[in-house]
Each structure stands twice: as structure tokens, then as C-alpha cells.
């Protein structure tokens, strides 16, 4: 608790530092002096790393701005430097208490993801049906001619005035017509706290429903529910420092090495300093985190509760309980009794791991007081997520290992501001400021504060996973989606997409054109992205940091809070006249203090509204004792003096103070978990300490916990709803005729990749982040691959597995039943007759998976691949307490897809969209062709003759951004499509239509093509170049018959490679470099080099990228190992810099060393 005192004194230092320096903290003109920055709540003394020691920052023309990384929940501080020409570079902020200067691969690549490329820059209306059709034409069974794409313009640009007025009036109309409950907001952990706050206030306080849910529902709502059950409040029991201070770190359902790499790095550094520290990983997959683990328990997916019940039982048997703590906790006996059934042998059998390793794990836990259990999506994203959380917390409460340095359960949040959403209550079952939605007094308090025109609704709003059903059954008529891509991320993703297609009004605010959800909007609003917007975010340890503006907004993009406030105001609502995010922040702060009985000046009211955080109180730590004259505190009179009551005037930050705000933990660094603990003198002790009563929860693991979820389908057909174009037999075909002989059944586990974030709209722009895994893969065990008859990189098709759903009628009426609600959505007759989306991936064989498990990343969307979305495969099954869906345990079947040909297209980024549109058109054409052919044959013949399932598309593709070009990988399972793709005439035609699509004044451009073709092998290479502009404008060059050999430079536009096998396609590294510069190629060799995909000689290919941070390829590392004798990752790092930054590739480097060791010895 002494830490808090240190913190407070540190806080005063900050202010004085700021007072002595008139420059705002956010914008540091580097002058060569040490920049004075201090952290008010760092748990220990931070080593000051003077910025001047870094040569980069000495340059006086560079402006450096402190901001916060927008990726995972670690919330790393970033120093963004903008030079005179506006070029941005980023590095870790050495003084940010989350990362101390480190950045992971994603954070390091932030600068590559900014700019205007792939951005939404103006508001527009969209012909939703047509765009959706164009964007994903491969909806088998659809009639491709049904929608005439040329009938209406796809997009109609508009201006803010028009669109804001229009949105306001349409929302008002919707309310008038369908009632207040017909509107829903779907918001995101990507929003800033200020955005979140306004959205929440807008809908709960003014529209008058609680239909706001965040994508945090998919992320950590089970942790929230678990925390509330265990502590009575959504508090954060641990800190990052605990990860360094513990003697044992247990990772449950967390690939921390990839998903929270900087935090993992902090633990590893501590472990390196003290090798006695232990790491145990509990994960069905042997992830990269296991590389550093002393023990890995590959338990069967879903059996965490068995394991932790067994642990509680073991701890009880071994007498490990903390008597004092246990005596003050509730539910201890029930929990211990519930756990009694779980002997080590029982657990071993349920978890499908050896009893010995379980015993080892239990012994280690029993012996180690300083244990931190960090858990993440593997725990949360489960139908029993909340139980898993509580089963874990139970063991900590039982042993008193909670809220102590180095001993705590700890939830790793996924998103940069998932926590901010919790704080402002922007979820359907939360209120605001940690007040309770089901408490009438709390609702009243908030309504008073907001001066809402009507009472806040007591009903829990529509949650994320219920949204599709609510739209499809007509409850929701208008939905506004902000900063998230649910068409990709929700389970039953296609169902949600269908819902958007049918919804009267879909508004999407986003910053990226590559969001699939944007394609489903009637109205698209351009929101500011990272680096443009300004506000606060809260990380996993509840540390608030500022995201600051680094650059002007792209085009007409606006902050989300502004868009919301404008619409609210135009709807005639009061209280949304914000001019600056600091006003919103202060209002949020004021609400945390409003009526908070733990304020120094208690409310006059008899009612008490105790709650966990009083931000206003904490905020005082940021202020000096007296208000300085140059920093007038804004008085929020309208909120404070309402109802004539004199309430304590909360301290509010001036705009400047807000700008200067340093990262700090609200609620103090450490929250005491037992009310009995008395605060030390002068310590700011969190109010939650006095309300939270720790409680153990009796957990009864489900017998079926490890049984993979299946989609449910009613047995009965509803013929009246069947599309006339589809004959029943066709539907049966699509649904039921998976080639069972070749299919194998697997359990699908989804998750993240090291270098990608969410649906790749941002990380997908960074070339180096696309190197790690540029294609959608399905990782499976070698045994399964053998059974399936596939090898690495072979394509497979993934199918949902169904079970017949006979209880349809009874469930239909059971709308409010916990966890079952969402099943209605997929059980509507309409939906169940729709064929499922095709999903394909390339096999990656790995012994990191259990036999029967399959892993597929969740990142791919339609914008980046044709058939690689994982969402449609996942049935909606949610946790009854948290409403969080199960995303890591879905039943699928997998069939091999023998490909006839493969292809790579490299295309200049300017032409990317045109190529994709063309590919989609081809796909549609082939599909139409195929279905015609199919009609001419009898079904039986087709089925008996054709090994391939009918649902196979003609073509599948995925794209990834390279440094200078966009790489599109193609594959086709169809013979006809393959021979078409190998025709140069086809690509000449393709080029012509592409040119007319994207270059209306194409006659000004002189395009050149070159190709090679092999008639037998269906092998084609095709190059498109454009003369350099200076040549184009040179009339003499055009008039004269100029041989290209004389032309000084050529712009490469597109390079196409088609071959029957993947290994016949060239490596792309060198080719990519040709998109900026072809001058390296001798003029007379130009086309040959480009067609060959490599220079004739003398070029060393660095190979696939292993270290994203330092851009080191596999071949370079192998060279370091085999040629320079490097036998450790450190040595490799010294030799070629690989693994020296974020270290998340060290596991891979070690694997390469291990691979080469026998060779090196030989």
C-alpha cells in the first residue's frame, strides 16, 4: 500500500513539472533537453530514459507526441514522431508504465497503417443490396441476375449537413413509427471512452432503451460477470507489476506471447532475472507461449472448470486455504463441496491429459503463494466462460492470493478500450459509472444527472449475439454500428449479415473501406481513426491513457462523439452540445462522483449510491491543491446544481490539463479485496474496498463441456417460405450432401495471429504484418491430415455441422431464457433454408494441436479473402451469465478440395479494388455457368460422378498488402476455370475491363503487356506495365514507333502467375520491390525478369518474414544459424537483429535453431 503514497507524490511532481514547462505534455518540441514526464501511478520508480539520448528525437524539426497504441488491452505508450513532411514514425514510450518503451510487431508497424489508403473519407448513401451482392456474390443458391448492379449507382456521396439531418430525422421517424425500442447501437472497444460515453448517454438516456452493446461482449464480458460474482463489482484485482512479482504465472486460455506480447515480455524479463519463476500454460493448443513454459497442460477445450474444480479440491485437501481470507469470504463451503467430486483422476479423464501432469500443476500451485493466473479469450469466449472465470478466482480467494503483489487472478482484456466501455456502461446490461441497471435508484440517479426526458428503461437491452434475431423478428428497425465489423466477428456471421440486409436502416461509422460491415450499410459515416482522434482509453490494469491527435483527419472524417452528438442535437435532444472531448470526459468523471456516497461531501439524499470508482476523487490526484490561475476549472453547473441540490463540485480538468493528462490508474494501483482491510493513513483507498465482499462460486462443470457445439436446424421444412428458384432437392444437396466418405469431423478453435488485429482493416495495411501468415490456414494435427489425405498448404473446405433441432416450438416461446435466446435467430425457417457460406482454408499440419482439434484465425473477412471468414461456421451459443458467445469450440467437418490451379497476382495498390471487383465478377460468372451445367445433368449423376461437393466455388482468393503492391493468392478447383485463368486472352480482356473501371481516361495511359503461357500445363505468367508518365506526355515518343527498350522507366501495374502447383509460382519479395522501381532491371531484360519473378542471377531471397519488427526473413536467420554458427536466439539476434525488438518471434527462431542443430553438427 506504500505504492499508492509514492504514486501520489509522483502526481504532484507531474503538475509541477508541467507548471514549470508551458509546453503541453502531448506536444513536445524536442529541444535537446530532457523532457520531464512522470507517471502518477506507476507502482515503482520508473527509470527515466531521457529522450535526448535518442538521435531520432534530437532533430529539431521533429515533433513527438505521446499517445497510446490502439491494439490489444495492454495499452502501450507510443511516442509518435512527425517530421516536417508529415512522415510519421513510432516507437515505444520508455516512460509509459505499461510497456516502458517496448512495442510489439503490431505497435511497431503503426506508422504503416496510417494515411489515406483504404480510408473512408466522406459520408455516403449506399445501394446496400447491390453492394452486398457485389461484395459477396458467392451466396450459393442466389440468383445472380436478380440484382442489376448497373441499375442504380452503388454509392451516392453526400455532405455532413445533409446526412446528419437525414439520420436524425430517420431515427425520429423510426421511434415514431416503431417505438423507442426499435433502435440499437452496436459499439466497440475501439471507441474512445468519450465516444462510448456519448453513445451510451444518447441511447439509454434519450432514445430511451438499453439496446446498446459493445463488441466487448465477444471479448471479456465473461470476465466482467465473473468479477461481479466474485467481488460484487467489476473491479480489476491485479496489476501488470504482479506479472513481474509473481513466482508462478499460469496462463489459461491465453496465447500471451502473441496476443499481449509486451506484457508477456515483462514476465519473461523477470523470469530471466530470476529463473526460479515458473510459467504454466493451460491451452488445448501448444501455442508460442508454451515455448517458455515449464509445464503445458493441453486440456480438451472447454474443460477448464473441471481442472480448476479439481485444483480447489486439491488445495482444500492440502490445507492451502488462507483461513483469515476464507473466513471473510462467502460461499466457501458450497464451492469446496462442489469441487469435491473432482479427484485428480477424474480431472485427468475429463481434461484428457495425464494425471501426472495435473498433479504436477496442482503441486506447483499449492506450493507457490505468489501465483498469478492470467486468463483471456480461451476462458471468456465460452458458453461456460463465467464459470471458468469463477472457478479460477475461487482458487485464488481460497488461498488468499488476491489483491496482493504477485498474487492475483488477472483478466487480460482484448481491446484497447474494452475497459473504457465497462466504465461508462456501454453494454446492454450495464448502466453507467458502474451503477446497476436493475436498481431503480441508480437508474434515477443517472437520469437525473443526464436530465433525461424520460426514465431509463429497466430492461436489459439487446445484446450483440441477439441482434440478428431482434432485427429479423422486427424488434429492431434501425441499427447504428460504430468502429466494429460484426459481419465478420459475430458467430453465425452470415445470419447477422442477412439481418443487416433486411434491416430498414443500417448506419455504419467506420474509418476503413475494408470493413465487410460497411458494405451492409445504407448510410456510411467516415469516422476518424487512430492518430486523428483524441480521447482516453483504459487498459487491462485499468490504466487510463490518452490517445492524441497526430495528424489531420483523412478527408471529412469526424470523431465518433461528434457524429453522435450532432445527430442527437439534430433530433432535438439537449445535453449534446460538446465542443471538445475534455467536456465529455469531465461529464463522465462528474457522473462517477454524482451521488457517490464515498465522496467527501455526501449527497443530501438518503439514498446511497455506493460504487466502485469515483473517478472525480481520483482525478484530484492530477490537480494541485489550489487551482492555478491559468487553468480554470470548468464548472459543470448544469449537472451539479440540478434539482436545486448543492452537490459536491467535482474537480474537472481544463482542456489543457486534459491534453497533458498522464497515464494513471483510476481507483488506485491496487484494490483491496476484503472490506476489513483498513486504509493506511493518507492512502487513497478505493471505495470498492468497502463494498466488495468476496464470494466463491460453486461450480458444476457440464458433462458436455468439451463437446463441440453444433448448429441447430429444425427438422421440418417450411415450404411456403422457400425461394421459388430453389427446388427442395437442391437445398438438401447443399445442406446434407457433404461427401461423408472424405469428410472428417473436427472441433474448431478460433483465435488470433501474432501480427494481425481483428478483421485486419488496420494491420492488414502494414506489409510487414502480412508476412507472418499471409493466407488463411486451418491448423490440424498430422493424424487428421492423414485421414483427410491432405498435406501442408492443400485446400480444404469447412462445413458447419448440424444437428436436427426438434424442440423448435418450445424454444420459440422461450425468448428470455438465458443463453438460448439467440438460437431463435438461426432457427427461423427462412434462415435454415439458406445455404451456408463456403469457407475454405489451406491446411497447416502441426503437432501443436490435439488430434481432432482445428485452429483457424478469426481475422479474415470478405475484404481480404473470398471464402475465409470463420464466423459462418460458428453457431451462436452464449454463456448464460455474460451473454458471451462460444467462439472456440464449434463442430465442423472438413473435406479436401483438390485444386486444379493456383495463382498469384501482384497488383499496384491503385488497382486493387478494380482487380477484386473483376475477380468477384469472374466468380459470379463461373458460378452461373456451373449451375446451368448442373441443371442439365441429373442430380444423381452429378453426385456420383463428381467427387467434389457441389458447393465448391470456381475460384478462391485472398489478398495481403506488400510493401509496394497487393498480393492476391488464387486457387481454383475447377478445370474450366483453370484453363480460362491460363489464357492470356482472358487477362488481356481482364485488363481492358479493369482499365475502364478504374481509369476513365485510360486512353492517356500506355499499357504494355507481356506473357508466357504453357498450353499443356495451364501455366501462365502475365505482366502489365505502364510507361512512366514523362514518356506518356512526350508526344514524339507516342508518334514515333518507340521500342520499349529505349524507355527509361516502366511502372509495373500487375503481375499474374498461374500454375498447376503452388511451387511453380514465384516468390513475391523481389517482384514486390519492382512496383516502386524497375530501374534495377536491365531494360532489355525487363519483361523476362518480371515474368520469371526473379532476376536472372545474383539475388538472394530473404525468404518468408519471421521477425516483423526488424524485417528479417527465414533464409537470413537460417544463414545466421548455419553459416555463422548461432546456437541461441540471442546470438541470432546479434547476427541479424531478428527477435531483438518485441521478441514474439523468438519461439520461431528457437524452432529454426532446433531444426538446424543436427545439420550444424553434421
Amino acid at each position: 500500500m506504500n505504492d499508492a503514497i509514492t504514486n501520489q507524490s509522483a502526481a504532484s511532481k507531474v503538475v509541477s513539472a508541467n507548471k514549470s514547462n508551458n509546453l503541453p505534455n502531448s506536444v513536445q518540441k524536442t529541444t535537446g533537453h530532457v523532457i520531464e514526464t512522470h507517471d502518477i501511478s506507476a507502482a515503482k520508480n520508473i527509470k527515466k530514459a531521457p529522450l535526448s539520448s535518442d538521435g531520432d528525437l534530437i532533430n529539431s524539426s521533429i515533433t513527438t507526441i505521446r499517445t497510446t497504441c490502439p491494439y490489444c488491452g495492454v495499452g502501450c505508450g507510443v511516442l509518435a514522431s512527425v517530421n516536417e513532411t508529415g512522415v510519421l514514425s513510432v516507437k515505444g514510450d520508455p516512460e509509459h508504465p505499461a510497456n516502458f518503451g517496448k512495442l510489439c510487431s503490431k505497435g511497431s508497424a503503426l506508422a504503416q497503417t496510417l494515411g489515406t489508403a483504404r480510408r473512408l473519407t466522406e459520408p455516403y448513401y449506399q445501394n446496400k443490396q447491390a453492394v452486398m451482392q457485389q461484395h459477396q456474390p458467392m451466396q450459393l443458391g442466389n440468383d445472380f441476375n436478380a440484382i442489376d448492379l448497373s441499375a442504380k449507382p452503388l454509392i451516392n456521396q453526400t455532405d455532413w449537413e445533409t446526412v446528419l439531418d437525414d439520420v436524425a430525422s430517420r431515427l425520429n421517424d423510426t421511434i415514431a413509427k416503431h417505438g423507442r425500442d426499435s433502435i440499437m447501437f452496436y459499439v466497440s472497444g475501439q471507441l474512445l471512452t468519450e465516444d462510448y460515453y456519448v453513445a451510451n448517454k444518447f441511447i439509454k438516456g434519450f432514445i430511451g432503451n438499453n439496446n446498446i452493446d459493445s463488441n466487448s461482449r465477444l471479448c471479456m464480458s465473461s470476465a466482467v460477470a465473473g468479477h461481479k460474482r466474485a467481488f460484487g463489482a467489476d473491479l480489476v484485482p491485479g496489476n501488470y507489476e504482479d506479472l513481474e512479482a509473481c513466482d508462478l504465472l499460469v496462463l489459461v486460455g491465453s496465447n500471451m506471447a502473441w496476443c499481449h506480447p509486451i506484457l508477456f515480455g515483462r514476465f519473461l524479463a523477470a523470469k530471466k532475472a530470476n529463473p526460479n519463476k515458473k510459467l504454466i500454460v493451460i491451452d488445448p493448443r501448444r501455442t508460442d507461449s508454451c515455448e517458455f513454459a515449464d509445464l503445458h497442460l493441453p486440456i480438451a477445450a472447454g474443460t477448464d472448470t473441471h481442472l480448476y474444480n479439481g485444483l480447489l479440491h486439491y488445495l482444500d485437501q492440502k490445507g492451502c486455504q488462507d483461513d483469515e481470507y476464507v473466513s471473510q469470504s462467502l460461499g466457501v463451503d458450497d464451492a469446496v463441496n462442489a469441487a469435491k467430486a473432482w479427484s485428480i483422476d477424474e480431472v485427468a479423464s475429463a481434461c484428457q491429459v495425464s494425471a501426472e501432469s495435473i498433479r504436477q500443476f496442482y503441486e506447483c500451485i499449492a506450493a507457490t503463494d505468489k501465483t498469478v493466473t492470467a486468463f483471456s479469450m480461451g476462458v471468456n469466449q465460452s458458453q461456460s466462460g463465467t464459470d471458468k472465470v469463477n472457478a479460477i478466482i475461487n482458487t485464488h480467494l481460497f488461498t488468499g492470493r488476491v489483491g496482493k503483489l504477485g498474487a492475483s487472478p488477472f483478466s487480460l482484456t482484448g481491446q484497447p478500450n474494452a475497459m473504457g466501455g465497462r466504465e461508462v456502461g456501454a453494454l446492454a446490461n450495464l448502466l453507467a459509472a458502474h451503477l446497476e441497471l436493475d436498481n431503480v435508484d441508480h437508474r434515477q440517479l443517472v437520469a437525473d444527472f443526464w436530465q433525461s426526458p424520460q426514465a431509463i428503461s429497466p430492461n436489459v437491452g439487446v445484446k450483440a449475439c441477439d441482434a440478428a434475431a431482434a432485427i429479423l423478428d422486427g424488434r429492431i428497425k434501425a441499427i447504428w454500428i460504430m468502429a466494429t465489423n460484426p459481419v465478420v466477428s459475430l458467430p453465425d456471421a452470415d445470419n447477422f449479415r442477412q439481418a443487416l440486409a433486411e434491416c430498414d436502416l443500417v448506419i455504419v461509422s467506420d474509418c476503413s473501406v475494408d470493413s465487410d460491415t460497411v458494405k451492409c450499410a445504407d448510410i456510411v459515416l467516415p469516422a476518424q481513426g487512430w492518430g486523428e482522434k483524441s480521447g482516453t482509453v483504459t487498459n487491462s490494469e485499468r490504466r487510463i491513457s490518452r490517445q492524441r491527435t497526430l495528424m489531420p483527419a483523412a478527408g471529412l472524417a469526424k470523431p465518433d462523439w461528434w457524429i453522435l452528438s450532432q445527430v442527437a442535437t439534430r433530433m432535438g435532444l439537449k445535453g449534446f452540445d460538446y465542443q471538445h472531448p475534455s467536456e465529455i470526459f469531465n461529464e463522465h468523471v462528474a457522473l462517477t462522483a454524482y451521488g457517490n456516497t464515498h465522496n467527501q461531501s455526501p449527497s443530501n439524499s438518503n439514498k446511497t449510491y455506493p460504487r466502485y470508482l469515483n473517478f472525480s476523487k481520483d482525478l484530484s490526484a492530477l490537480m494541485t491543491d489550489e487551482v492555478p490561475a491559468d487553468k480554470p476549472v470548468q464548472q459543470l453547473q448544469q449537472h451539479i446544481n440540478q434539482n436545486g441540490n448543492q452537490i459536491h463540485t467535482p474537480i474537472a480538468l481544463s482542456q489543457q490539463a486534459y491534453e497533458e493528462m498522464l497515464p494513471f490508474q483510476w481507483g488506485g494501483t491496487r484494490i483491496s479485496m476484503i472490506d476489513k482491510i483498513k486504509p493506511l493513513e493518507n492512502e487513497i483507498i478505493n471505495p470498492a474496498a468497502t463494498v466488495a465482499k468476496s464470494q466463491l462460486i460453486a461450480i458444476t462443470p457440464s458433462d458436455e463441456a468439451s463437446v463441440a457445439n453444433v448448429h441447430r436446424r429444425q427438422r421440418r421444412q417450411k415450404p411456403q417460405l422457400i425461394d421459388e428458384h430453389q427446388s427442395p432437392s437442391k437445398q438438401e444437396l447443399d445442406h446434407d450432401t457433404q461427401p461423408e466418405s472424405q469428410a472428417i469431423h473436427l472441433r474448431l478453435i478460433t483465435g488470433r495471429l501474432r501480427d494481425q488485429w481483428h478483421t485486419m482493416t488496420r494491420t492488414g495495411l502494414a506489409p510487414q504484418l502480412n508476412q507472418h501468415q499471409p493466407i488463411q490456414t486451418l491448423t490440424i494435427h498430422a493424424n487428421d491430415a492423414q485421414q483427410l489425405g491432405v498435406q501442408d498448404n492443400d485446400f480444404v473446405q469447412l462445413h458447419r455441422r448440424y444437428e436436427n433441432y426438434e424442440k423448435y416450438e418450445s424454444y420459440e416461446n422461450d425468448v428470455t431464457s438465458d443463453g438460448i435466446v439467440s438460437d431463435i435467430a438461426i432457427s427461423t425457417a427462412k434462415d435454415s433454408n439458406k445455404p451456408a457460406s463456403t469457407v475454405m482454408a489451406q491446411v497447416a499440419i502441426s503437432d501443436t494441436l490435439r488430434v481432432g482439434d482445428a485452429f483457424m484465425p478469426m481475422h479474415w473477412s470478405n475484404a481480404f479473402a473470398s471464402f475465409a471468414r470463420v464466423g459462418p461456421l460458428i453457431p451462436t451459443v452464449v454463456d448464460p451469465h455474460s451473454g458471451q458467445p462460444e467462439l472456440k469450440n464449434s463442430a465442423i467437418s472438413v473435406t479436401p478440395v483438390p485444386m486444379q490451379s493456383f495463382g498469384k497476382i501482384l497488383v499496384h495498390p491503385e488497382w486493387q479494388d478494380a482487380v477484386i471487383v473483376q475477380l468477384r465478377t469472374i466468380l459470379a460468372n463461373f458460378s452461373a455457368q456451373a449451375s446451368e451445367e448442373e441443371l442439365s445433368e441429373t442430380k444423381c449423376e452429378a453426385r456420383s460422378k463428381n467427387i467434389l461437393p457441389e458447393a465448391l466455388p470456381a475460384l478462391t482468393w485472398s489478398l495481403s498488402h506488400q510493401n509496394n503492391s497487393v498480393l492476391i493468392n488464387l486457387a481454383s478447383p475447377m478445370v474450366e476455370a483453370s484453363s480460362t485463368l491460363a489464357c492470356p486472352e482472358f487477362w488481356q480482356q481482364f485488363m481492358a475491363s479493369m482499365q475502364s473501371l478504374s481509369q476513365p481516361n485510360s486512353q492517356e495511359r500506355v499499357m504494355h503487356t507481356a506473357f508466357t503461357v504453357d498450353n499443356v500445363q495451364n501455366q501462365l505468367r502475365f505482366i502489365v506495365t505502364k510507361s512512366a508518365p514523362d514518356i506518356d506526355s512526350d508526344n514524339t515518343a507516342i508518334n514515333r514507333q518507340v521500342s520499349d527498350d529505349e524507355k527509361p522507366s516502366t511502372q509495373l501495374i500487375m503481375a499474374v502467375y498461374i500454375a498447376p502447383t503452388q511451387k511453380q509460382l514465384p516468390s513475391v519479395r523481389w517482384l514486390d520491390s519492382c512496383f516502386t522501381d524497375t530501374s534495377q532491371i536491365p531494360v532489355n531484360q525487363r519483361y523476362k525478369w518480371l515474368l520469371a519473378g526473379r532476376p536472372a542471377s545474383g539475388y538472394v531471397d530473404p525468404g518468408p518474414l519471421v521477425c516483423s519488427c526488424m524485417s528479417v526473413g527465414k533464409n537470413i536467420i537460417l544463414n545466421a544459424i548455419t553459416q555463422h554458427g548461432c546456437t541461441s536466439a540471442t546470438a541470432v539476434g546479434k547476427q541479424c537483429r531478428a527477435g531483438t525488438n518485441c521478441g514474439s518471434c523468438v519461439g520461431q527462431i528457437n524452432a529454426l535453431i532446433a531444426e538446424c542443430a543436427p545439420l550444424a553438427q553434421a
Partner: protein, 492 residues
């Protein structure tokens, strides 16, 4: 009519006549070569060089040339006609080299008769020469098709310097000319004359030019290029008759379809015929050419034949590469024949000395020699429908540059190649065709040329069956057009 078989000039280059024709030649019979074209002169020089490297005794060498100009590169006549090259630059060897090597050169002299029994020859100047070994290198004659009025004034062939001189005269006056035969020589002549100022049109029987050497896409590119150069082209055009005015001069050409084309002169480029009259009258076995075996022996002891005049297993040879091979073969046969007093001449049963290198006919390649136009072909490039199904083609095209490469593969062996535009890899492909190796390891990059293909990869996979000694560089530089002529002969 001005054919190449004009009577020998009486002038003899002074430097070639340094050795007086003494009667002691008859006694000191040596090696006599009839014909100082590309085969004869090369053989004389190569043999003499080989002998000069030996300190052993040697036979004197006598080279007899009907043309006054000895040992010039006939292929270079096209650039001479186009004005790109001076005639003096076409000599294969410096004239002093003959003297230095002790070769007796008799220029402007024709051989009247050969007495194979007495092993002596009689010259048209009345002299007789004994020989120990006689080498026939009498070459070939441009073919003239006897169309009506083919003897009219203004009907030419394109074979020797005299033809060049005559044709340049028309061109410099801006006359209108027709070339009958869209083969290599005909196209070269037409382009050269167009450059020199004539208005030229090529008359070709088949559907496209160079139809035996190029495939259709390459020929189309070539035809487009001809058109850009102002050379007219009539394909599938069959000559009916040459039109002649009252003065006996050419005034046009009528086609079988009834069209008539005006012309001031006509060049017939319709192939060559081996010069075999002397051999025939001397009793050598002659078919279309002088029949030889693998070691260049004719049917008559101590008489050999090389070059365009020979026939080997029914095949005639019009290209430099095989002719040079024949020269090399014959050098191995004759360099020490004398010393070993080897009597095992032809009758098929005698043992062949180990050091004799047999002549093996190789697939031929072709290169068009027109400045700014390059076309190359090698091996088999035309297939009937059935064969076409089993042939894999690798095509490279760059339409803007008019580059076109097509490789023909059968069972993973390169069997033919057509290159248009950029022919720099021609020799590489020729070699692969000749070597008949399995190119599987380099198949994916084969089309990009030698720079992309590691030959060690394919030699690993294929035991080298033929060790080929031909010098590809020479092949490249001196591709003969005669093959075309020969093929055209068949076509006509």
C-alpha cells in the same frame, strides 16, 4: 539472265597466284580442293592449320576457285546488298593467311574433268593436277524456276557478288521489284533492296512467309514488320508467268488468280541446287547431291566431298553449322591419312581410326539476317494435328516489343524453338534440342532463357550421350540461309 555460273574471270588475284603452276605439282600430288566457297576455303585453312601444328611431313594443299573471290562469306551478301556491310568485310580469312599456311590458291579457274583412276584433274586453262586426295566443295547454284519468260532481262537470282551489283543498280534507280519466294533469302533481298530505294513486294506461295521456319504468330510479326518497312507481300500467291515487254525486259508478273503485278525486275529466291555435274561426269555416285558417308568419303577412293554439294542419307546441307562440322570431320580424316598411309577407304567394312570424328547431322537452326529484325528457329516446329496434341508449347509474348518465343516440348525434351524479336537465347535452345536432354528440372524457367537455367541441373539428370563439338558461337554468327532455299525447293 545473270546467273552465278558465269564464266570465270580471267583476272586472278595477285596474291593468290604466288605459287607458279609448275609441272612438278603433278608429281608431288597433294590435297586438291575444288571450290573455294565457305566449305572449301574453311577446309583448306583448317587442314593447313592442323598440319602446321604437326611437325610431321605434310601434303601440299591446293584450293581451286571458280569465282575470282576466294573464301568470302556468302551469307554476308544480304547486308552488303542492304548497304550495311562492305564486300571486303565478307572475307572469311585474311587473304595472306592462305600464303602463310602454304596453300596454293587457283582463283578464277574451273575444273573441266576429274580422272579418278589416275587421280588427276584437268583445269579449264588446260592444266592438269595430280591429287593424292581430292575434296569436292563445289557448292550449289541458285535455282531458277522456268516460268514463262524466265529468261527475260531483269530476272535475277541472289547468289553472288555479281548479283548484288546488278540488283543494287535497280534499287539505286528506285525501280519496282518483285521477289519470288518468301524464304529467308528472299526476305533479306527484299528488305535490303527496299532500304536501297527499290519498291519491293514479296510473292510467296504459302499462307505466310518462312512457313517452314516460323510458326504462324512469329510469321505474322515478321509480316507486320515487313509492312512497316514498306515491303509488300502477296501470300498464297502462285506465279503464272513473268511478263515481258517488247524489249525483252521484265515488266511484271501474273499470278494464277489472274492478278498482275508490275515490276522492273524480279529476284528468284526459290532455293538452291547442289552443283554435281562435275562429280556426276567423273563417275561419283550422285543423287540430289554427291553421296558421302559419315567421314565425307564419296563413292570413289581418295575423293571426298563437303558442303552444299553433298548428300548424306538423303539429306542436303545448306547451313553453316553442318558444313563446318563436315569440314571438321574431314580434317580428322585427312590430317594424317597420308602419314599413316591409310588405305582403308570406303567400302563400309574397313575399320575406322579412333580419332576420326563422324559427321552427325544435327537439327538445324535458322536466323534471319535483316538489320532490326531478328527471327530464329530450330528443330521441329510444325506438327500434324495428331502430333500437335502431344506437343507442349511454352510461349512468351511481349506485344509492344513484338517479342515472341515459342518452345516446343515433347516428353519433357525440347524439340523445337521459334524466337522472334529477341533471339539471343537461340543457341542455348539449339543446344538443348541437339543434346536431346530431359529439361524437366529447368522447365519452369526454360522460356526465360539461359540466364534462368542452370545447366548442371539437367546434366545431373541425364547421362550425356552425345558430346558435341560444334562451336555454337560460329553457328550464331554464320547461319546459312541455304537451308531455306532447300526447303523452298521442296515447296515448289
Amino acid at each position: 539472265m545473270s546467273l552465278s555460273m558465269s564464266q570465270a574471270s580471267t583476272t586472278v588475284d595477285t596474291h593468290t597466284n604466288t605459287h607458279a603452276l609448275a609441272s612438278d605439282h603433278q608429281k608431288n600430288a597433294g590435297i586438291v580442293i575444288i571450290g573455294a566457297g565457305m566449305a572449301g576455303s574453311r577446309f583448306a585453312i583448317e587442314l593447313a592449320r592442323t598440319q602446321s601444328n604437326d611437325d610431321t611431313a605434310r601434303l601440299p594443299i591446293t584450293l581451286i576457285s571458280k569465282e575470282p573471290h576466294v573464301g568470302y562469306n556468302r551469307i554476308m551478301l544480304s547486308p552488303v546488298l542492304a548497304g550495311d556491310t562492305a564486300f571486303k568485310d565478307t572475307y572469311l580469312y585474311d587473304n595472306s593467311e592462305y600464303e602463310q599456311l602454304g596453300i596454293t590458291v587457283l582463283a578464277g579457274v574451273a575444273v573441266e574433268t576429274i580422272d579418278t583412276k589416275c587421280q588427276c584433274i584437268e583445269l579449264d586453262n588446260g592444266q592438269t593436277l595430280n591429287y593424292a586426295k581430292l575434296v569436292m566443295a563445289t557448292g550449289s547454284t541458285a535455282r531458277v524456276i522456268p516460268f514463262p519468260n524466265h529468261t527475260a532481262k531483269g530476272v535475277h537470282v541472289f547468289r553472288d557478288l555479281a548479283d548484288v551489283t546488278a540488283l543494287m543498280d535497280y534499287a539505286s534507280q528506285g525501280k519496282t521489284g518483285l521477289v519470288i519466294g518468301g524464304g529467308v533469302l528472299g526476305l533479306e533481298a527484299a528488305c535490303a533492296l527496299a532500304v536501297q530505294g527499290a519498291s519491293m513486294t514479296v510473292i510467296h506461295m504459302d499462307g505466310y512467309v518462312l512457313n517452314r521456319q516460323l510458326d504462324l504468330p512469329a510469321a505474322e510479326l515478321l509480316q507486320a514488320e515487313l509492312s512497316r518497312r514498306g515491303v509488300g507481300l502477296a501470300v498464297s500467291a502462285h506465279t503464272e508467268a513473268i511478263e515481258m515487254n517488247d524489249a525483252g525486259e521484265v515488266c511484271g508478273l501474273s499470278l494464277k488468280d489472274g492478278c498482275t503485278l508490275a515490276a522492273d525486275f524480279i529476284v528468284m529466291a526459290v532455293g538452291v541446287i547442289p552443283n554435281t555435274a562435275l562429280a556426276k561426269q567423273s563417275g561419283l555416285e550422285v543423287n540430289r547431291g554427291i553421296v558421302v558417308d559419315d567421314f565425307m568419303h564419296t563413292s570413289c577412293p581418295n575423293v571426298y566431298a563437303i558442303g552444299e554439294c553433298i548428300e548424306r542419307e538423303g539429306e542436303l546441307f545448306g547451313m553453316v553449322a553442318p558444313v563446318n562440322q563436315q569440314v571438321d570431320t574431314l580434317v580428322t580424316v585427312l590430317k594424317d591419312d597420308f602419314i599413316e598411309n591409310n588405305t582403308n577407304v570406303i567400302d563400309g567394312k574397313v575399320t575406322v581410326p579412333d580419332h576420326w570424328v563422324p559427321f552427325v547431322s544435327k537439327p538445324l537452326s535458322l536466323k534471319l539476317k535483316v538489320s532490326g529484325m531478328s527471327a530464329f528457329s530450330a528443330g521441329q516446329i510444325a506438327f500434324d494435328d495428331e502430333a500437335a496434341d502431344t506437343v507442349e508449347t511454352l510461349v512468351y509474348r511481349q506485344p509492344d516489343l513484338n517479342h515472341y518465343h515459342c518452345l516446343y516440348l515433347k516428353e519433357n525434351k525440347l524439340i523445337g524453338a521459334v524466337l522472334y524479336g529477341d533471339t539471343s537465347d537461340g543457341s542455348f535452345y539449339s543446344q538443348l534440342i541437339i543434346d536431346n536432354v530431359d529439361i524437366t528440372p529447368i522447365k519452369d524457367t526454360l522460356i526465360f532463357g539461359e540466364a534462368y537455367c542452370h545447366l548442371d541441373e539437367i546434366t545431373l539428370n541425364n547421362s550425356p550421350t552425345t558430346e558435341v563439338g560444334i562451336e555454337l558461337d560460329d553457328t550464331d554468327k554464320n547461319i546459312s540461309h541455304h537451308k531455306v532455299a532447300e526447303l523452298l525447293e521442296d515447296a515448289l
